[in-house]
């Protein structure tokens, strides 16, 4: 209580400080209220419209089912990860375990990775359309979408894997070398296993980005509402489905419900990633 009184009297002497403090509080309140309002609003409006017909396996204009889109999203996610994860992890291994820090080549890789991080998804979509869809003649297909997304998430996986590898203490490596293991054995048997939680957290974060992506997919994977028979066929993911529903404006109830599914999915995935990352830091310290 005394503390509070002291503070109040200090503010009385410095009215300017009081104003600034109130501004800070006001701004923070706006931030959190607005962002919470968004989540609560979508949930409140959408949950009542979550009906079993939304999850039927074929899409018709009657049921506006999101199930095909959900399945496409899963296929798209697995395929993108299949392409991006090996490349991401291997290049992180090269950067951390093999290359010397002063290497020119390494700094080029760093610059290009930074560039990839900053490129907006529509540019990835445009590139995917020009290269995979048109030049390689894959057409609008799951495969073209997956390759486009793989490039998009590559820097994220590289970055998180690098951090995870860096956090493995050097004594692990020295111990392994001391016992006569070679470099490769050390990397795969000692360093990688201890870095797995960090790498996993990064991969899950990448899944969150894939699930939420729209602009990169419209002109690469296309917007067909069916479950494709193969990777060379077009199919819309949940986020693309969501965009089409709300831009058509014909099925607003279903759009609310789809938004709920999308929101819960992405928030759940990101929470899982944060949880794993936190567990990791706790174990280390």
């Amino acid at each position: 209580m005394d503390n509070l009184k002291q503070k109040l009297s200090a503010y009385k002497k410095h009215p300017g400080s009081l104003v600034v403090m109130l501004l800070v509080m006001f701004a923070s309140l706006i931030t959190f209220l607005v962002l919470f309002f968004l989540v609560i609003y979508i949930l409140a409006k959408g949950i009542p419209h979550l009906k079993p017909s939304l999850f039927s396996f074929t899409y018709t204009s009657e049921n506006v089912s999101l199930m095909p889109a959900l399945i496409n999203t899963i296929i798209m996610t697995l395929l993108s990860l299949l392409i991006a994860v090996p490349f991401g992890i291997f290049s992180a291994i090269y950067l951390i375990e093999y290359a010397s820090k002063k290497n020119k080549f390494v700094s080029i890789i760093r610059i290009t990775t930074e560039t990839l991080t900053g490129i907006p998804s529509i540019i990835y979509g445009l590139f995917g359309m020009l290269f995979f869809v048109t030049k390689l003649q894959w057409g609008f297909s799951i495969l073209a979408g997956a390759f486009t997304l793989a490039i998009m998430i590559l820097p994220l996986i590289m970055k998180t894997t690098e951090e995870a590898l860096k956090s493995v203490p050097d004594s692990f490596r020295e111990g392994s070398f001391g016992l006569g293991a070679g470099k490769l054995r050390t990397v795969f048997r000692i360093v990688l296993p201890s870095a797995i939680p960090g790498i996993l957290a990064g991969i899950i974060l990448a899944v969150g980005r894939i699930v939420g992506e729209t602009a990169a997919l419209i002109y690469t994977a296309g917007t067909v509402t069916k479950i494709p028979k193969g990777v060379m066929e077009s199919g819309r993911t949940l986020a693309v489905h969501m965009y089409n529903l709300s831009s058509e404006g014909l099925y607003m109830d279903q759009a609310y419900a789809t938004a709920v599914v999308l929101l819960v999915l992405v928030l759940g995935i990101n929470t899982l990633s944060g949880f794993i990352a936190k567990k990791l830091t706790k174990e280390r310290s």
Binding site: V24, L38, Y94, A239, T271
Partner: protein, 286 residues
């Protein structure tokens, strides 16, 4: 032997990002530049009229549109973002810090279509009513709406970067200011925040990059009229929106003009990326 092969494999994988950037630049330029040349660079960048049916391809309205909504996003997002990050770093009670921090991190992951949908069903009607009651008209899809929504969307980015910049300032700065008789606010805003300046600016620039590259959310709330606007309650089309809206049916020169629009956007983004990395480098040295 095996060691050498695997080292080669790792090296090959590491080249992927270089290859990707190379391919992206190459394909955008090769497909975009000829179209721009055919239209005429001056006519393309400076032309005020976009009428693909009449072979008129001026993207000045879209450039202006992107700049307007980005500037608007900064006006809404930056002051609130910086003040919130000050709250997180210097005011927030320990007990509620973790949940709030987690909330901000989660919100940065909300897909842009969901933000866009929220804008469509909440912000657009809201702005329509405000515009009507002020006698400014407009149907709610406008520069103002897009700025508001983008301001929201860049908040998590700005808060994250700015907060860590504030935390990186040595505690001695703050304590020294207090010892000299400054209030908590005086110490934070006159000593700590200026010391964190380069980090704060990097956060803001990162937010600008996000705002200018944002596509889906903007399409859903900005109205998308391809003409120079005459008021902030009027609709506008951004560079990103131009690509998505018309690429579906564009052919020939129209298609090339859209790809060239992508090139212009790409150049903007590269300039922003370069300034971010310069700022980061200066932050590390200083």
């Amino acid at each position: 032997m095996k060691e050498k092969i695997m080292k080669g494999v790792f090296l090959f994988a590491a080249c992927a990002s270089i290859l990707a950037v190379g391919l992206i630049c190459y394909f955008l330029l090769v497909n975009g530049i000829p179209g721009m040349a055919k239209i005429g660079v001056g006519k393309f960048l400076g032309g005020k009229i976009w009428r693909p049916n009449n072979d008129e391809f001026g993207i000045l309205p879209m450039i202006v549109g992107s700049l307007y909504v980005t500037a608007g996003a900064i006006i809404f997002g930056v002051p609130i973002g910086i003040l919130t990050s000050v709250f997180m770093a210097k005011y927030c009670p320990k007990t509620i810090y973790r949940p709030l921090k987690t909330a901000i991190e989660l919100l940065s992951g909300i897909p842009s279509v969901v933000y866009g949908f929220f804008g469509l069903v909440v912000l657009v009607p809201f702005v329509r009513n405000v515009g009507r009651s002020l006698g400014l008209g407009g149907n709610g899809s406008s520069i103002f709406t897009a700025s508001l929504l983008l301001g929201m969307m860049i908040l998590p980015t700005i808060i994250g970067v700015t907060e860590s910049a504030i935390r990186a300032v040595p505690a001695a700065y703050y304590e020294g200011a207090l010892a000299l008789g400054a209030t908590h606010e005086g110490a934070v805003f006159k000593v700590v925040l200026p010391a964190a300046k380069s980090g704060v600016v990097a956060g803001v620039v990162l937010g600008i990059g996000r705002a200018i590259g944002e596509t889906m959310a903007v399409i859903m709330v900005a109205g998308n009229q391809a003409r120079l606007p005459n008021g902030i309650f009027r609709g506008i089309r951004t560079l990103t929106a131009n690509i998505v809206l018309e690429m579906g049916y564009a052919t020939d020169l129209h298609r090339e003009a859209l790809i060239a629009t992508g090139v212009v956007l790409f150049v903007f983004i590269l300039a922003i990326n370069v300034s971010v990395s310069l700022l980061n480098r200066r932050g590390q040295n200083g």
